[in-house]
Amino acid sequence: MEPAKQYTAKPIYDEAKPITNAGKPKRRKANVRQIKETITGYLFVAPMLIGLTVFFTIPIIATMLLSFTEWSFVSSLDKVKFVAFDNFIKLFKDATFIKSLKNNFFLLLTIPVTAAIALTLAIIINKQVYFKDVFKVVFFIPYISSIVAIAIVYQVLFHPSYGPVNEFLMSIGMENPPKWLADIQFAIVSVFTIQVWASIGFYMIIYIAGLQGIPRDLYEAADMDGASRWQKTRNVTIPMLSATTFFLIVTGIIYTFRTFDLIAVLTAGGPANSTTVIVYYLYESAFINLKTGYASAMSFILLTMVLIITILQWIGQKKWVNY
């Protein structure tokens, strides 16, 4: 850039205003107005900014710094010991951490499963039923219900010996039904099922909104070409919903990494750590085992993963979404 251009460049905010043959006094008046506008703008966002800085931004920085230390928050600050990358090295040798990572990735599979069920329901509810609004409410109820209450109910439903689920399975002839939440293999499957059940409503509402945005003439054109119902779904509906699906995948990934309440109440990570996830193990390390530095290292990894997902989302939005 040549210096001359820089010199004459106007501030952006001036360009939107009608350019009069502004003499100096007028220009100053405009500047004063702009300064006032800027001050007002900051005053309006100030409560939010101060709150976010104190309760979120500073803790984010603190967590990153703490991840290189060994400390327990019950002891005083001068007990903080710098240990460089020790926590990270330990983490990748820690079987429970690896297990929690694996479980997180396994739970990511709830996203396509939920999306498929929700899309089917959305297509049916959108066009082919009476009392559409009632159906929306019915499938949405688990999403707004307290996870604590839901988890407590499912604990009883999945009870290995006298829970209704196993009573039912035995009555239809299954001799040794799984022990669900008490079984190392099946506990995570139970979590998976409940997660799908609880999220269907949210996915469905988003899909119904997406369906309503598809222009009708696309279907009319398909009709003229003699397309069957399945062909229309396959070649019109699904591609037209790619932006919606993409949104659901991204929020789904972030949401899955945050699954805490369900695990905390339903299984507390057990049996034998078989249902632990990163955020639960993080909580356990920090607040039960009081290993602050170690837990912070997990936070650091979690933050990095979320950052990567966010960047991929920005890139992906342009590449894969068909509008």
Binding site: A16, E37, I39, T40, G41, F44, V45, P47, M48, L49, G51, L52, F55, F56, P59, I60, A62, T63, L66, F73, Q128, V129, Y130, F131, F135, V137, V138, F140, I141, I144, S145, S146, I147, A149, I152, V153, G163, P164, E167, S171, W197, F202, I205, I208, A209, T251, I254, R258, F260, D261, A264, L282, F287, T292, S296, S299, L303, V306, L307, T310
Partner: protein
Amino acid sequence: MNKQLTFSMSKMIITIIMALLGIIFLLPFFWMISTSFKIEADVFTYPIQWVPPTWNVIENYTNVWSGDYPFVLYYWNSIKVTLTTTFTSVIVSALAAYSFARINFKGKSVVFLLVLATFMVPTQAILVPQFVLYRWLGLFDSHVGLILLGSFSVLGTFLLRQFFMGIHNEIIESAKIDGANHLRIFRSMAVPLIRPGIATYAILRFIWTWNDYQYPLIFIRSNEQFTIQLGLRRFADEFGSFYTLIMAGAVSAIVPLLIIFIIGQKSVIEGIAGGSIKG
């Protein structure tokens, strides 16, 4: 076009099938409610008796509400925390959202990006520093602390910003020409104009705060400060085998929300569909 007006047989059949599916989908809730009405001996009879053979409603619910566990207190705590959080969060978010949508201030895009960045952070990743901070500030084990954690919502800011941007430019401009400043425009024009948006966000914030388990678990210690979710958990832990009472507690925790949701059903569903948000 024979839409809507004509009765379609196939549509009716699909409706009935979907209704059955909907009932199966909600079976855990029916089981919960029905169990909360039963006597303990009938809980696990099989086949499941959906209509209690012996009704025990009043005993179960009085036991929960006026027994050793102060459910009334938990409820009151939850109501207090939830209403205050919703109120402050709506104000803080609306102010910021108006600024981002309607005020042309220097450095707006940078500030907006900073706000956006905190949105992606999983709350669990920063619990430890928040905990240390809370003990320093004396906010630990207090409702004020809980309320503050829920009051700065990036999601709320995004949602309301969308609504503020939807207001026609001329309305704001003509108010400016009349000499109104931003605070005046915000209070007497912009906020009333986006009332549906505010309602949506307020209901969502209410639901999320009422259901929250994680923050109370970490930041509340003493029984007198417990919210309903913590209280329910503690109750379920200690009454391990009194399933009728546990279910009566669970019903008590869910019902107020169901009522709010059913009243504000349209705003919630449209808000979620339109703003595409998730807490």
